[in-house]
């Protein structure tokens, strides 16, 4: 398996998983208090939302891809590259959720992309 597939999985499945879990939590509703009984009730409600299972599956896939990448590359290389999820998040927000991303935010995303490129170039 080509190694860049691992990085693509970490970024895409990780970001997608978070989006699905947020969607599920919106359906499940707010936590009324931090009492264990209330938290358990919200979790039980969230587990009945299919988005939650899709999200958890994607996050698990991202986690195992992270383990795979860490078995090959240094952690000081792998973790900075996963910052690409900020780029994926902005692009996904614009294309899938039709969010409006401010120019300020694009600047941050651009800086992250430049930083990841430098990390790649600095991989002797």
């Amino acid at each position: 398996m080509p190694h860049y597939v691992l990085f693509a999985l970490i970024v895409v499945a990780g970001t997608g998983g978070e989006l699905c879990v947020s969607r599920a939590m919106q359906v499940a509703g707010e936590v009324p208090s931090f009492r264990p009984a209330d938290i358990a009730k919200v979790i039980a409600r969230a587990m009945r939302v299919p988005w939650m299972w899709l999200g958890l599956g994607m996050m698990a896939a991202a986690f195992f891809a992270l383990l795979g990448a860490l078995s090959i590359y240094n952690v000081s290389f792998v973790v900075p590259v996963t910052a690409l999820s900020y780029v994926a998040g902005a692009l996904g927000g614009v294309t899938f959720l039709r969010e409006r991303v401010s120019s300020h935010r694009w600047l941050g995303v651009l800086l992250v992309a430049i930083g990841v490129t430098l990390v790649f170039l600095g991989q002797n």
Partner: protein
């Protein structure tokens, strides 16, 4: 006044915990996985053996525990403070992970990689500052 001060102190302590536990978790995962070596996932019997090796690694379990600690601290911090206040802590994590990788695992981090990490931290900081303030704290 004093309870407000205590709230601030708690938030900063939680953010400090996040900035250490998250990177530490990743470095411990890295330590365990480097020890195991490149993974073989095919044929399926190899995948099974790989899975066994991963879950028999103490470093991997310590890393998972540390990441759970990070997650709990993150949730608690978000319950006390705004996301836009807590989020910049995740930009620190990219620097801390490289530092810990260098100190604990002896990884060589080239100057260009340090520069890249600094630019990433800056970018994450800029992204975090764009979040609109949604609620006024009372």
């Amino acid at each position: 006044m004093t309870s407000k001060k205590r709230l601030h102190l708690q938030t900063y302590l939680l953010i400090a915990l996040m900035a250490i536990a998250g990177p530490l978790g990743n470095v411990l995962l890295g330590k365990g996985m480097k020890h195991i070596g490149e993974l073989s996932v095919w044929p399926l019997s190899d995948l099974f053996h790989t899975g066994l090796k991963i879950f028999a690694s103490g470093s991997v379990w310590l890393g998972i525990a540390s990441l759970i600690g990070f997650f709990v601290a993150y949730m608690l911090a978000l319950s006390l403070a705004d996301y836009s206040f807590v989020q910049p802590a995740s930009s620190l994590a990219y620097g801390v992970v490289a530092l810990l990788g260098h100190l604990m695992l002896g990884e060589r981090v080239s100057p260009l990689r340090w520069a890249g990490i600094a630019v990433i931290c800056l970018g994450v900081l800029v992204v975090g500052r764009t979040n609109p303030r949604t609620t006024e704290r009372v």
